[in-house]
């Protein structure tokens, strides 16, 4: 039988409708509207000394009660009614409330001789207690809890009062105790959640106070057992005399307690904890003392609530300041991962985490003490499988199979999905906090006997090591994570919008640029052609031109020609930006040999020694790669023109995931100090009259190689030659 099943059985006990009451009082049940008696407790005649008949109204002897009922009806706000009533020659404490079935439940309790005097004393003590709660600094909850325990024990007269606090799993932790030494010290112990099944917890929430003066009482049945009109058992949820589960009485006896009282600590409507009082022997508490205890505990509840709110508020203030700083960084950075890396300390303090991770399609970035990327990847898979936009746990191992491996750094996980469309997550991690928990008895032990569950018999303290858990995430931290998620989504959306605008205006200006270069190509070349044409015509006409005039005419032609070439080169360069790459396997041997021949065709008077190795094939756009070689080989030939013998060597090799090529010459070389300028547009390191050129060749080379996602490099020294190289990646991913 599983533990869950045990719990179910316990939870299914009909604790709201036991059909009986405890014997320290008597009960009369009326139809709330007709005031006809529907049920009575079997002890009503002996206890109150009245002979009442079901189906009739209240007798004349109970006139004072009838008047009380009228008073209660007149005051609609008063849900529960408690008064001292004179019936015959005795005074009773009478409690009245209407239940959900439309029944007025009237409970009689005996009233002690001294109670009237006691009330005044109670008021004074309550005042003193309320004052003491306020005296302490607000964050000292333990002191307030201890004072509450002391006060409740003092006014109720129990041997021991405990203040329990429930954890999120409903285990109860004893945080304060007042004890006269009759019963064991339970301070610091933890009681497993199954000690109080869910149904009982719900009843603690609706009915704050429960008294059991004797753990060995004989229940008094209601007569008749079932409401004759409703034909249903009576709902006693709110009745003070409600008889409790025999399992609970057994539990009490096992614990060595003869009587008990509990007052619920409700914080913002939720069950936060209990003040539980016990005595070794039977012990009863007057209704007034109970009311005072309830009042004290509610005062403490308000302290708890105020504390939580204050703590929460200051945490939220701190978190929004952190969020402000993070957002400011994000606004400055283009990449979220870069922003988070810059704001790492803010990111981590934001969720009081020791590690964090950002997961997007193509990368996982971790910050602080976080599991490695592969582990985060498996977490993202898990997160996606939950189908949720946010996820948090302080015990990842219990949620995600295999997560125990990361427990040290990631026992706690708080994740928000930062994209509607893609599996992008921002995740915070908290480390494992190994806690030694002292249980009030072995929480794993369940006693069974002939098919029936018995509550545990041993309350010997039992130590447990709790592993794989982090400190729990607080509500303010969860809210902060959600806020940050919204902010990130907002920023991403805004950036996408900006990008869309930008790309639209880029496309527009690209079109304009295209139109511009188109007309330049047509209109700018023409005048140069005309200049050259007319000066040539002039030269041809004038046979008697002197040498100087001829030189001037030559200069005009040369300049116009150079300008024309410049236009051609520039156009070629600007074309590069917009033409699509057509990637193919490029036969470098073939291209290099063709370029060599076309370059040297016109300069056969020079002596050039070529040393060309076999070149590996690479992936690229053949037309553009041909231009690269054209420029590099042209340069090598050009800058070795003054050598007696030009030596040009060409090499190629594979290096990891790229193919490299290099051309070296023995020409004029260059000063490495100008390396940075070498590949820039219009950067020339040689004077024009020494070597012709437009200053675009190497810029073109770099641009082509850039577009292939490759690298370019150069080495040289003045007078000793130069080496130029480029690489092409084996796997080219072009982004256009």
């Amino acid at each position: 039988m599983s533990d869950a099943r045990d719990l179910d059985i316990c939870a299914s006990e009909p604790i709201r409708i036991p059909g009986s009451i405890q014997p320290h009082g008597a009960m009369i049940v009326l139809d709330a509207s007709s005031q006809v008696i529907t049920q009575v407790s079997a002890n009503v005649s002996t206890f109150v000394g009245l002979d009442l008949r079901v189906g009739e109204g209240l007798p004349e002897e109970l006139r004072s009660l009838r008047e009380a009922i009228e008073r209660k009806a007149a005051d609609a706000d008063e849900e529960r009614f408690q008064e001292a009533l004179q019936i015959g020659d005795r005074t009773w404490t009478v409690l009245m409330h209407a239940n959900a079935q439309g029944r007025l439940i009237i409970e009689f309790e005996q009233r002690g001789e001294q109670e009237e005097q006691a009330i005044e004393a109670l008021f004074v003590r309550l005042q003193a207690f309320s004052q003491s709660l306020l005296d302490h600094s607000m964050d000292d909850l333990t002191t307030a809890a201890r004072q509450t325990a002391v006060f409740v024990r003092a006014i109720t007269g129990f041997d021991r009062a405990l203040v329990y606090r429930f954890d999120p799993e409903w285990n109860g932790h004893v945080i304060a105790q007042a004890n006269n030494g009759e019963l064991p010290n339970y301070l610091g112990l933890r009681f497993p959640s199954k000690d109080i099944p869910p149904q009982a917890r719900e009843l603690y929430r609706t009915n704050r106070l429960r008294l059991i003066p004797s753990a060995s009482y004989e229940p008094v049945p209601l007569v008749p057992a079932v409401d004759p009109e409703l034909n249903a058992p009576l709902d006693l949820s709110l009745a003070a005399l409600r008889s409790v589960s025999p399992v609970h009485l057994e539990y009490m006896r096992n614990m060595g307690t003869g009587s008990s009282m509990s007052v619920s600590i409700l914080v913002d409507g939720a069950l936060w904890g209990l003040v539980a009082c016990h005595s070794r022997n039977a012990h009863t508490v007057s209704a007034n003392a109970r009311a005072a205890a309830d009042f004290a505990v509610q005062a403490f509840s308000m302290r708890v609530s105020a504390n939580a709110r204050l703590e929460d508020a200051s945490l939220r203030v701190a978190l929004s300041a952190l969020q402000g700083r993070l957002l400011a960084i994000m606004a400055e950075e283009n990449e979220l991962s870069a922003a988070l890396a810059r704001g790492e300390s803010e990111l981590l303090s934001y969720a009081d985490a020791t590690g964090a991770a950002l997961a997007s399609d193509d990368e996982i970035v971790v910050f602080g003490a976080a599991p490695h990327a592969a582990a985060v990847e498996s977490m993202v898979e898990f997160l996606e499988s939950t189908g949720r936009q946010e996820f948090y746990t302080d015990h990842l191992g219990a949620q995600m199979p295999g997560a125990e491996r990361f427990a040290e750094q990631a026992s706690g996980l708080l994740a928000v999905r930062i994209s509607e469309l893609y599996p992008h997550w921002l995740i915070w991690f908290r480390p494992e906090v190994i806690r030694t928990v002292t249980w009030g008895g072995d929480p794993h032990m369940v006693v069974r006997e002939s098919g029936r569950i018995h509550p545990r018999q041993s309350f010997q303290s039992w130590q447990d090591q709790e592993r794989g858990k982090s400190t729990p995430w607080r509500e303010a931290e969860l809210d902060a994570a959600r806020n940050l998620r919204n902010a990130i989504v907002g920023i991403v959306l805004r950036k996408a919008e900006v990008l869309a605008n930008l790309s639209e205006s880029l496309q527009r200006s690209n079109k304009e640029l295209e139109a511009f270069s188109y007309s330049v190509s047509h209109d700018l070349r023409a005048p140069f052609r005309h200049i050259v044409g007319y000066s040539e015509l002039l030269k041809g006409r004038s046979t008697n031109l002197d040498a100087k005039s001829r030189h001037y005419l030559d200069s005009i032609s040369e300049s116009a020609l150079a300008a024309g070439r410049l236009v051609d080169d520039l156009l070629n360069f600007s074309h590069l930006g917009r033409t699509q790459l057509a990637l193919k396997n490029v036969d470098m041997d073939k291209i290099v040999s063709e370029v060599r021949h076309s370059t040297t065709r016109l300069i056969d008077q020079r002596q050039i020694e070529w040393d060309v190795a076999a070149l590996p094939i690479a992936r690229g756009d053949p037309t553009l790669i041909r231009q690269v070689w054209q420029n590099l080989i042209d340069n090598a030939v050009k800058y070795t023109a003054r050598e007696e013998v030009s030596r040009i060597a060409i090499r190629g090799w594979r290096d990891g995931d790229e193919i490299c090529y290099q051309i070296s010459d023995n020409g004029v070389g260059f000063d490495m100090a100008y390396l940075g300028k070498l590949f820039g547009v219009f950067q020339r390191l040689q004077r024009t009259e020494d070597f012709q050129g437009t200053g675009i060749g190497l810029a073109l080379v770099r641009r082509i190689i850039d577009r292939h996602k490759g690298r370019v490099w150069a080495e040289g020294s003045v007078g000793e030659g130069a080496t130029f190289g480029f690489s092409l990646p084996l796997k080219v991913r072009i982004d256009d």
Binding site: H522, R529, V532, G533
Partner: protein, 151 residues
């Protein structure tokens, strides 16, 4: 066989016109050179309308057509020629200042017979124009046009 029909030169730029005419003169072509200064005039000449209504000479042996022209540009003139049942047999050579990929593609799609980029260097320019003149006026065997009637 020598073809004495005219060469139609369509050129808006007076300097280009002068230089081209000079180049054609130097290669000793005897054909008459008809000149049109924009796309509209070129079409008027070809379709014998406007001021060319009732001109006597036959269809041009070749049209040297500049690409960028006022009013109606070179590509449009080319399209009109090549989509005409009769005139489409007249060879058209695009003469342009630069080798723009999109112009090149468009011209060939419209059925241009040749596409020539005017070289900046004068010697080369002279050579290119002379070659064109010699080829189209002297060497090329034209399509029989006379047996076709105007529609």
């Amino acid at each position: 066989m020598t073809d004495y029909r005219p060469i139609l030169l369509v050129e808006d730029n007076p300097k280009d016109l002068e230089l081209t005419l000079e180049a054609l003169r130097r290669c000793n072509i005897v054909n008459e050179i008809a000149v049109a200064r924009d796309g509209e005039e070129a079409l008027d000449y070809l379709f014998r309308r406007g001021k060319f209504e009732g001109r006597n000479e036959g269809e041009p042996t070749v049209v040297l057509l500049d690409l960028k022209l006022p009013k109606i540009d070179g590509l449009e003139v080319l399209e009109k020629i090549k989509s005409h049942a009769f005139l489409q047999r007249v060879p058209v050579v695009m003469l342009t200042s630069s080798r723009e990929e999109q112009d090149l593609i468009a011209s060939y799609e419209l059925g241009v017979n040749a596409f020539v980029v005017k070289p900046v260097e004068f010697g080369q320019f002279m050579e290119a124009i002379s070659n064109l003149g010699v080829f189209w006026a002297l060497l090329n065997e034209p399509a029989p046009l006379r047996d076709l009637e105007w529609k």
